[in-house]
C-alpha cells in the first residue's frame, strides 16, 4: 500500500508561532510581512517564534506539521466591510465548513491564492492547526 506521510516531526519546542500572511505589492499592502519584520526585532520571550508565512497554505501547513506549535498567531489584512485600518482579533478554535468547501480551499491554495482565511481553512482541513486550548 502507499506510504504514509513522509514527515512526522517531533514537537519543536516552539510554544507560539507568530506568522505574517501577505504578498509583496498586493492589495493587502503586505501587512503580514511588515508586521513580521517589526516583530522580529522585539523580545517576545522564549518559545515564541516569528516567521513569514506568505508562501502558500499547503506549504505553510507542512511547516506547521514540522514545528507543531502549541499556539499559532496569524497577522494579515482582509476586507471585512469595516473601516480601512480597523484592527480586529479573531480567536479560531475550528472552522465550520463542510468537506466540499475545505476541498475547495485546498484547491485554491495550491493554485496560488494566499489569504489569512484560506490558510486557516487549509490548516484545519489538513489537521495542522494547534489544538484548541
Amino acid at each position: 500500500m502507499p506510504a504514509g506521510p513522509i514527515t512526522e516531526a517531533p514537537r519543536s519546542g516552539v510554544d507560539v508561532l507568530v506568522g505574517g500572511v501577505g504578498q509583496l505589492y498586493q492589495g493587502d499592502l503586505d501587512l503580514g510581512r511588515h508586521a513580521i519584520e517589526a516583530l522580529a526585532g522585539e523580545d517576545l520571550g522564549r518559545g515564541v517564534r516569528v516567521e513569514d508565512l506568505h508562501y502558500g497554505a499547503v506549504a505553510v501547513v507542512q511547516r506547521l506539521q514540522e514545528l507543531r506549535p502549541a499556539a499559532l498567531i496569524l497577522v494579515g489584512a482582509a476586507q471585512r466591510g469595516r473601516a480601512p485600518g480597523s484592527v480586529h482579533r479573531r480567536s479560531i478554535e475550528g472552522v465550520d465548513l463542510p468537506p466540499s468547501e475545505l476541498q475547495r480551499a485546498v484547491g485554491e491554495a495550491v493554485t496560488g491564492y494566499v489569504t489569512v482565511d484560506l490558510l486557516i481553512e487549509v490548516a484545519f482541513a489538513l489537521e495542522a492547526l494547534p489544538p484548541a486550548p
Binding site: 492589495g27 482582509a78 476541498q103 484547491g107 493554485t111 494566499v114
Partner: protein
C-alpha cells in the same frame, strides 16, 4: 515546408520567405484555415434544436473550481441526447503583467512576471531571464544552465503530482464516481488492478477511495511529494515560489557539493513514487475504457500540439536567436509542432514564425501595424506575432459575437493547437533528437524510460503515442511526464557532478554589478522559449533605451482557454467539451453535475493566470 495556411516558403537552406504575389498575405480574409462549419451555421443549428427540444440547457460555471478560479465556462447541453452543443471558456480577469513591465529595467521583469502564476512559481522567472539574456547577449556557463534544468525538473516534480492528485484526481474518486456513475462504482469493486504490484491497490474501488480529497492516501501523499519537490527547488534557488536567484546569464545561487548531495537524496525518493503514479493512471485509464469505450471521447480533439522544448543541453545553449534551432533541438524535451499526429517541425524559428495572437473576441483593442516584418534571422513574421503585438486593454460588456474574455486566441499557422506537458512527450518521442543519455530513449512512437533502483528494482517503463487523444490520455501522459522530468533531473544532476569535478562551478555569465553595463540602449528583441507544468511558455520582449518597450507573455492556458479566432474556430477547451459525451447518470436532471465536461477541462491545465493576494469578498483578483 511546415506551413499549410501561411504563405511562407523555404529555400534549400531552410530560410523562410513570404510567397510573392499576395498583396496582404496576413490579412485574415485572404489567408484562412479550413473551417468545417461556420459559427452562424452552428448557432442556427442550436436555435433549431432549442426550438424543438425542451432538454437543451444553458449552463454557466464561474469559476470552474480546481483549475485556478480564473476561468469560467458557458456551455449549451442537450440532456436528452447527452451531448454538448457548444462551449465557450472565458478568462474573467485581467492580469496586466505586460503593462506593468513596460518602461522598467529588464531585470525587473524576472520578478514581476514570476507572479503570472501562483502554481508554477519559477517557470516565468526562468522564461523572462531567457528573453532578457538573449537581448543582452549573455550565455550562461554550463553549470548555470544545469542549475536551471535541475530547478525546473524539481518544479515539474511539484506541479505534476499536485495536478494529478489535488486537481484532476478528485474527479475519479470514490465520492464522485459513486454519485455520478453508480454502475461504474459497482464494477470498480470487482475490477482487479493490473498494476497492483506497483501501486498496492487490489481493486479499482480501493484506488478510487485513495483519490478522495482530504482523506484519501493518494491525495495526502500527493501533498507530501509536492513538499519534497519544493525542498529540491529551494536548495538550488533559495525560495519557492518566485525565486530571487534567476538572473540574465545564469543563476546567482551558490552550488556546492553539499547542495547537489542534498538534492540527490530527495530525488532518490521520487522514483518509486513515479512508478506508482504511472501504474495508477494506466489502470484508471484502462478501467474507464473497458467500462465504456465512449470514455475515449471525453475531452477528445485532434492531436495538434505546440511546444517550445524544455531543459537545455548545457554545452549547446548559447542564448542567441541565431542558433536557436540548433540548441532547441538539443533540449531534453524537443520543441516543435504536431498537426493531426504528424510532426511538422522541430525548429524554434518555425514555432515562432507561425505564431500569431488574435483579439477579435478578447477585451483588447486591435493594435495597428507592427515594428517587425521579420525575426532577427530574416524569417517573415505576422503583424499578429507577439513581437508586434501591443497590449491595449479594452474592458466592456460580455458578448459572444463581440468580446467575452481576457484571454487572446493564439494560433499556429492559423490552426488550433494545444499546449500540455504531454506535448513534450509526443514531440520528443516522434523527433528522436534527444541528447544521448542512459535514461530516456525516443523511439519515434514511444519514450522508453529506464528507472533506477529504489525500494523497487530497476525497471523500464514505456509511454506510447496513443491512438486516441482525450482526457484520460492527458492524465496518463502527465503521469509519464512526471517520470520523464525526474529522469531529466537525474541526468542533469550527473552533469552537475561532472562539472564540479572539472572545477567548472561558475553559474552566471557576468557578476551582478556588470549586468547594467550589458543592457543594450538600441532597440533589441529577445525571446524566452521555455516551458511550464502545462507545456508551452514564451516571453517575447523588446528593449529600447535600456528599458522594456514591449513585453508579451503567452502561457499554455492562453492557448488552451482561447476564445474563437477570426475564423470562429473554437479553442482547445471549447473543442474538447463539444466532443465530450455525457456519460454520467442523468436520469434525474436535477442531479446533473457535468462531470464528464469537467474531466475534459481539468485534465488539461490549470489557469496560468492566478490572481494576486486579494481580500476575500472583494473579488479574487486585484488587477494593478
Amino acid at each position: 515546408m511546415c506551413f499549410k495556411n501561411l504563405p511562407i516558403d523555404f529555400d534549400e537552406a531552410g530560410n523562410a520567405t513570404l510567397r510573392g504575389g499576395i498583396p496582404d498575405p496576413y490579412d485574415v480574409t485572404i489567408t484562412k484555415p479550413d473551417v468545417d462549419k461556420s459559427e452562424a451555421e452552428r448557432e442556427a443549428q442550436i436555435r433549431e434544436l432549442v426550438a424543438r427540444n425542451g432538454h437543451i440547457k444553458e449552463m454557466n460555471m464561474d469559476p470552474v473550481t480546481r483549475i485556478a478560479g480564473a476561468m469560467a465556462l458557458s456551455v449549451t447541453a442537450d440532456l436528452e441526447e447527452g451531448r454538448y452543443l457548444d462551449a465557450r471558456s472565458q478568462a474573467p480577469l485581467f492580469r496586466g503583467y505586460e503593462v506593468i513591465a513596460m518602461g522598467r529595467d529588464p531585470r525587473d521583469a524576472i520578478f514581476i512576471t514570476s507572479r503570472a502564476c501562483g502554481v508554477c512559481g519559477g517557470v516565468h522567472a526562468h522564461c523572462s531571464a531567457y528573453a532578457i539574456e538573449m537581448a543582452m547577449g549573455l550565455a550562461p556557463p554550463a553549470m548555470g544552465t544545469v542549475a536551471r534544468n535541475l530547478g525546473e525538473a524539481a518544479e515539474m516534480g511539484y506541479d505534476n503530482p499536485l495536478h494529478l492528485y489535488l486537481l484532476a484526481g478528485p474527479d475519479y474518486s470514490e465520492p464522485v464516481v459513486k454519485a455520478t456513475t453508480p454502475h461504474l462504482w459497482q464494477k470498480a469493486q470487482s475490477w482487479s488492478c493490473p498494476g497492483v504490484s506497483n501501486h498496492g491497490f487490489r481493486t479499482m474501488s480501493e484506488l478510487m477511495t485513495a483519490l478522495t480529497p482530504l482523506t484519501g492516501d493518494l491525495y495526502r501523499e500527493g501533498l507530501d511529494f509536492t513538499r519534497l519537490a519544493r525542498e529540491q527547488f529551494v536548495l538550488l534557488h533559495g525560495k519557492y515560489p518566485h525565486p530571487q536567484t534567476i538572473v540574465p546569464g545564469g543563476v546567482s545561487s551558490t552550488i556546492t557539493l553539499q547542495t547537489l548531495n542534498e538534492f540527490h537524496s530527495r530525488l532518490s525518493k521520487i522514483f518509486d513514487y513515479a512508478q506508482r503514479m504511472v501504474a495508477i493512471w494506466d489502470d484508471l485509464t484502462e478501467f474507464f475504457y473497458e467500462a465504456d469505450e465512449r470514455y475515449k471521447l471525453v475531452g477528445s480533439r485532434p492531436m495538434n500540439f505546440i511546444d517550445t522544448g524544455f531543459w537545455d543541453d548545457p554545452y549547446a545553449y548559447d542564448a542567441t536567436y541565431e542558433n536557436c534551432n540548433a540548441w532547441g533541438e538539443r533540449r531534453w524535451a524537443t520543441p516543435g509542432v504536431m498537426i493531426d499526429g504528424e510532426l511538422v517541425t522541430t525548429r524554434l524559428t518555425d514555432v515562432s514564425c507561425g505564431f500569431e495572437e488574435f483579439v477579435d473576441h478578447s477585451f483588447y483593442e486591435q493594435w495597428s501595424g507592427g515594428r517587425h516584418q521579420t525575426d532577427p534571422l530574416g524569417n517573415p513574421i505576422s503583424p499578429y506575432h507577439p513581437w508586434n503585438k501591443q497590449t491595449l486593454p479594452k474592458p466592456g460588456p460580455k458578448s459572444w459575437k463581440e468580446k467575452y474574455t481576457w484571454s487572446t486566441a493564439p494560433r499556429w499557422d492559423r490552426q488550433v493547437v494545444e499546449a500540455g506537458a504531454y506535448a513534450r512527450l509526443f514531440i520528443t518521442a516522434r523527433a528522436r533528437k534527444q541528447p544521448a543519455n542512459d535514461f530516456i530513449e525516443a523511439t519515434g512512437h514511444s519514450l522508453r524510460m529506464r528507472v533506477p533502483k529504489g525500494l523497487t528494482p530497476e525497471a523500464e517503463l514505456e509511454w506510447h503515442v496513443p491512438d486516441t487523444w482525450n482526457a484520460f490520455e492527458r492524465n496518463r501522459g502527465r503521469a509519464y511526464h512526471y517520470l520523464f522530468s525526474q529522469l531529466v533531473s537525474l541526468a542533469s544532476l550527473m552533469d552537475a557532478y561532472d562539472l564540479m569535478r572539472k572545477g567548472e562551478n561558475r553559474v552566471a555569465a557576468v557578476p551582478a554589478d556588470e549586468l547594467p553595463k550589458r543592457i543594450p540602449k538600441e532597440p533589441t528583441p529577445g525571446v524566452g522559449f521555455w516551458g511550464a507544468g502545462r507545456g508551452f511558455l514564451t516571453h517575447f520582449l523588446e528593449l529600447d533605451q535600456g528599458v522594456i518597450d514591449n513585453y508579451q507573455i503567452i502561457t499554455p492556458s492562453t492557448i488552451n482557454a482561447s476564445p474563437r479566432d477570426p475564423w470562429e474556430q473554437p479553442g482547445p477547451y471549447d473543442e474538447s467539451v463539444r466532443n465530450t459525451p455525457m456519460l454520467e447518470d442523468i436520469s434525474d436532471p436535477s442531479k446533473f453535475t457535468s462531470i464528464d465536461m469537467l474531466r475534459a477541462v481539468r485534465c488539461s491545465t490549470r489557469a496560468c493566470r492566478a490572481p494576486r493576494t486579494c481580500p476575500r469578498g472583494a473579488g479574487r483578483s486585484c488587477a494593478r
